[in-house]
């Protein structure tokens, strides 16, 4: 049977180097370009018919943006709309990476821990920067949950530091693990259905059909979770308890 992790392997397609840094084009990079192209096409086409009565495409785009806007309003309040472009781009990038990765033969960009890690770290760093910019040194108060008795501080502060540091880790690992696991399971079941032959192979194959639907849902949910957690972290930086 084929190695189920085989689809995640990358191979340099166009070797490139920038100031000694290896920036070769591989399948994942091409998928990133595809994602950028698809999202750009979708949203600019939706925009071009920006009439009051929306077309179908416009409805989809507006639905997505409205959804993100609702998320920001819930977690950060109306002030958070300053970050709308960033958060919306993040959501759309992750969502379409997840979805397009489900096309057979395509590559799921978000199944690369470096990719999700870079996003998570970037977002988390930004939330810290925003926090320190708004609240100054007082932002360190985020390490002290409100209502903590003074004698508990020596215990609470290390715990809070750990929980803070866990944020980008959990954020990135959650997305990466979900995407990887889903594809691995799909790969395993496909392998089973092929090696099982007609006699028994239909059984794992029918599972893959059901799982595929589930994966589409997970693609949405994981993009949503990543984005809403981003909003929550930003919101924490905004509204220090």
């Amino acid at each position: 049977m084929e190695n189920p992790l085989h689809p995640f392997e990358l191979h340099t397609i166009v070797p490139l180097s920038l100031f000694g840094l290896d920036v070769s084009i591989n399948k994942a990079v091409i998928m990133m370009f595809v994602v950028v192209g698809v999202v750009t096409l979708l949203l600019t086409k939706a925009r071009s018919s920006g009439s009051l009565i929306p077309t179908k495409l416009q409805s989809v785009a507006e639905l997505l943006l409205e959804f993100i806007r609702g998320m920001i309003h819930e977690t950060m309040g109306p002030d958070g709309m300053r970050f709308f472009p960033l958060i919306a781009t993040l959501f759309l990038f992750i969502l379409f990476s997840n979805l397009l990765g489900l096309i057979p033969g395509a590559y799921t960009v978000t199944s690369q821990l470096v990719v999700t890690g870079a996003f998570a770290l970037g977002v988390y760093t930004l939330s810290l920067l925003v926090g320190f910019k708004i609240h100054g040194v007082k932002f360190l108060g985020i390490l002290v949950p409100s209502g903590t008795p003074a004698w508990l501080l020596p215990l609470m502060i290390p715990i809070e530091i750990i929980s803070q540091l866990a944020r980008p880790v959990s954020l990135s690992v959650r997305l990466f693990a979900n995407m990887t696991a889903g594809h691995v399971i799909l790969g395993v079941l496909f392998g089973l259905s092929i090696s099982g032959g007609l006699l028994i192979g239909w059984l794992p194959f029918s599972f893959t059909v059901a799982l595929y639907g589930l994966e589409v849902g997970i693609a949405f949910i994981q993009a949503y979770i990543f984005t809403i957690l981003t909003c929550v972290y930003m919101g924490d930086a905004f509204h220090l308890h």
């Binding site: 840094l21 290896d22 990079v29 990133m32 409205e66 781009t89 990038f93 690369q112 470096v114 990719v115």
Partner: protein, 169 residues
């Protein structure tokens, strides 16, 4: 796991940042503002429409209430008019009845008086006539048999008798 192949990290991160940056810039520049604006325009439009509809509804309700009030006022007025007319008619009827009754009573009383007067006059006439007649008849009967003295006496008596009868009445 192939994902931990460090060899590709640099290119992945580099292109991720680049493509994310491009996407961000493109969307920020060309896609988000018009779409968000369209959303807000629609929201505003819907809110306005709802407000307008609410206003129209309130106006309509106000008007309906006004009309109903007017209608019930008119109905009350009509009722009052009818009741008034009825009362007036009743009063007129009663007045007429009263007047007719008193009139008829008066006529009755006058008639009775007239009759009484006529009756008395007739009686008086009859009495006078009867006395004259009696005197005449008596004269005729007694013309030869009575002397002049007798005549005088009898006449006196007759006159007295008539007078007595007159006074008796």
């Amino acid at each position: 796991m192939p994902q931990f192949d460090v060899h590709f990290f640099s290119s992945l991160i580099f292109w991720e940042v680049v493509s994310f940056g491009i996407l961000f810039w493109v969307l920020y520049k060309f896609a988000f503002p018009p779409i968000l604006e369209a959303l807000e325009t629609r929201e505003r439009k819907i809110r306005d429409s709802i407000e307008q509809a609410e206003q129209s509804r309130q106006t309509a309700e106000q008007r309906l209430a006004d009309y109903e009030a007017k209608l019930s006022g008119a109905a009350q007025e009509a009722e009052a008019i009818v009741a008034d007319a009825k009362a007036k008619a009743q009063r007129l009827l009663e007045e007429n009845e009263q007047r007719l009754r008193t009139e008829s009573e008066r006529i009755q009383a006058e008639t009775a008086q007239e009759i009484e007067r006529e009756r008395r006059k007739a009686l008086q006439d009859i009495r006078n006539e009867a006395a004259d007649l009696a005197v005449t008849v008596a004269e005729k009967v007694l013309e030869r048999s009575l002397s002049d003295d007798d005549h005088r006496r009898l006449a006196r008596e007759a006159v007295q008798a008539v007078a007595a009868g007159e006074s008796r009445k």
